[in-house]
Amino acid sequence: MFETIIFSLLNGLVYGLLLFLLSSGLTLIFSMMGVLNLAHAGFYMLSAYFAYSISIHLGFWYGLLFAPLIVGFIGAMVERYGLRKVHKFGHVPELIFTFGVAFLLEELVQFVWGRNQLAYNKPEILEGSLFTLFGADFPIYKMFMLIVSVVIFIILLSVLKYTRTGLIIRAAVGHPNVVGMLGHNVPLIFMVTFGVGTALAGIAGAIAGPVLGTYPGMASGLGGIMFVVVIFGGLGSLGGAFIASLMIGLIQTFAIAIDASLSDVFLLMDIVITEQTFMYDIWVTSLSQVAPLIPYLMMVVMLIFRPAGLMGARES
């Protein structure tokens, strides 16, 4: 029991921090521009592919360095020549545009790199296990992911808190119009934000590719979870996104470890569930089976009762 808790905690932490790395960029974009970037997971995938291509020529570390930069640049260009154009039509066309970009990225990746899963591997130094606990190895690479995520979190937080840029960004989150009136170049800020946001997704892609697999389906599914994090955490709140990421990472990991279903609960009350029982399949579905469902439930409930999210200041 104890070892399960420890390992679920560790795994949940790694997964949660990766989610945070992804959603921090999304939060940044969402809070500055009011656009929920549906293509965010697409940029994550794109970066993993770029990192793979660079890694086979120059090595893993160059991939980790350059892939996010390339993706950030592409992101900035998408903002400059795409999003900015539809911006004047309102939020709905913006959302639709990013949906289109997500769709296109998935096709583009297959067009360029083919449809097989790619052998994007960890570097030699990060192979192997860091320590062994109750007979289970904890891979070095996971610790590496953990450290990268935490470092990025700290950097982001200090930039937002202690620099002038951070000041502008925080102001723009709360009062986007005023920042423009104060003479800041809002289009430029938007472009940079979008670039930095997608580059953050790029970092996540470059470090997650070797463990979670680099294949055309790697974006789908993850995209949805990211929106849950951002919305659950609250608009414009990096702290909220952080808490939400960890929560979802931990809940999902723990749920997999638990095989209990409602029928077990009934059993405690001396009610036996058989195949004849009304709605049999609901009662015998185990928690580990519904684990992927929980985040969406959390999001819907949060949106109904508190649309601003856990720590958000405004609604849209």
Binding site: F89, H91, F103, L293, Y296, V300, P307, E315, S316
Partner: protein, 435 residues
């Protein structure tokens, strides 16, 4: 009675008459289409009917109500599941004519939309969009877990021919299924059109444009959104019912987020600002999915490009491109546009052929067998192992793009000239009816 009201009334009588003729034309086209196509054509036409009803229903939300939903396939799917269960019941002896199945699917969609809409329509915008997305994920995941109603991954299937015949009409051959779908397509379109012109539809437009003002004049925007949402859920369910009859199977992929994304694509590419827009989108997307996908593996890439292109360059969709010409039509200056358009088509076609050929050659080089270097591009045999086609098509694309830069100002100038407004022309009144 003033002079002006008399003119307006006369005008409206003329318009009503014209409208009736249009509906008649629509019906005749639906009836006559199968006569001019093959088997495959009839299959595609039936698909278009289903897709059109669904896309029109979707646009009651997006176009008319300003609500962006990422989960509308839920109502289509639930309507479909309900219909397929009804078909099973009918097969077991419940005497209901199966031609009424879509109505049942619609009712189921309506109930589901009412239950979910009662809380999801409290807000519009991003909050609504995200609730719809969350609900869609939840329902899609439940569809796999709750096997007794949804049948798991396999879905639920049934047989449309088991019920009592409806005046000798058993829906065995595909052509009968087409006419079944076409009749429901017509009925649903007629009903949706009149909904959009009813006070409820007009109020939905008002809430879309400015919810606060609508509230000031005494309407509750949430209620208005709910009414649109429920009506849209009903017609989505109707579409699900037609689908259930056509394919005799409904699975979780009918209600997942991919299906929801597809209907949004259809509505948007067609043009959400026009009543017929979604139908155009449904036709284009169905043809891409059936005909173009048979020709090239890259059809999804092209779909993506078409979609992005529409969002960036033609925010009013394909219908918008056509409706740009109403003023010119009323000014009787359409003819003046033919020449500049033909001129514009030249570089456009060149760029299109060039870019598509480059993409196809690249994909052929990656996918095809070695030594299999020849391919057919736009009726030309091309050998991709030589440098000639690569350079040739690159040049063609560049030439086309450069040509477009030169030609576009000319086309725009002549379009402006043709559209110069004559003050108080008919067009203002006409345009209004299509918002």
């Amino acid at each position: 009675m003033s002079h002006l009201t008399r003119i307006c009334r006369a005008e409206s009588v003329v318009r009503k008459k014209r409208l009736r003729i249009l509906w008649l034309c629509f019906a005749v086209i639906l009836l006559a289409l199968p006569l001019v196509t093959s088997n495959f054509g009839i299959t595609i036409l039936t698909q278009i009917c289903v897709a059109s009803v669904f896309a029109l229903a979707y646009n009651m939300l997006l176009g008319q109500g300003g609500m962006l939903s990422f989960g509308h396939a839920v109502y289509f799917g639930l309507g479909g599941y309900a219909s397929i269960h009804l078909m099973e019941l009918v097969g077991n002896g419940v005497p209901v004519p199966l031609v009424l199945t879509p109505l049942f699917g619609g009712l189921f969609g309506l109930i589901a939309a009412f239950l979910i809409g009662s809380f999801s329509t409290r807000r519009a915008g991003t909050v609504f969009a995200m609730i719809s997305f969350g609900i869609a994920e939840l329902v899609a995941a439940s569809a796999i877990i709750l096997v007794s109603f949804f049948g798991g991954e396999e879905g639920v299937s049934s047989d449309r021919t088991m019920g009592p015949a409806f005046f000798g009409y058993e829906m065995i051959p595909q052509i009968e299924v087409y006419y079944f779908a076409a009749v429901w397509f017509f009925l649903a379109t007629y009903a949706m059109y009149h909904f959009s012109r009813s006070p409820a539809g007009r109020l939905a437009n008002a809430v879309r444009d400015n919810a606060e003002r609508t509230q000031f004049i005494g309407y509750n925007p949430q209620k208005i959104r709910l009414v649109s949402f429920v009506a849209s859920g009903f017609f989505a369910g109707v579409a699900g019912g037609i689908f259930a009859i056509q394919y005799e199977i409904v699975t979780d992929s009918n209600l997942n987020t991919a299906a929801s994304g597809l209907v949004m694509l259809q509505a948007y590419i067609g043009g959400i600002g026009y009543f017929v827009g979604p139908v155009i989108g449904a036709i284009v997307m169905t043809l891409l999915n059936t005909v173009v996908s048979g020709v090239t593996d890259l059809w999804l890439l092209y779909t993506g490009l078409l979609f992005i292109g529409t969002v960036l360059l033609a925010p009013n969709g394909l219908t918008g491109l056509i409706m740009m010409h109403t003023d010119a039509y009323h000014n009787r200056k359409l003819a003046t546009l033919i020449k500049p358009y033909l001129l514009g088509m030249l570089p456009l076609t060149a760029a299109f052929i060039g870019v598509v050929s480059l993409l196809e050659m690249f994909s052929h080089r990656n996918e095809a067998a070695v030594g299999d270097d020849s391919m057919l591009l736009f009726y030309i045999d091309v050998d991709i192992s030589t440098w000639f086609p690569w350079v040739g098509f690159t040049l063609l694309s560049l030439l086309g793009l450069a040509g477009l830069r030169v030609v576009i100002p000319v086309v725009r100038a002549s379009w402006d000239a043709a559209n110069e407004m004559q003050i108080l022309s008919n067009s203002t009144i006409n345009n209004e009816s299509d918002s």
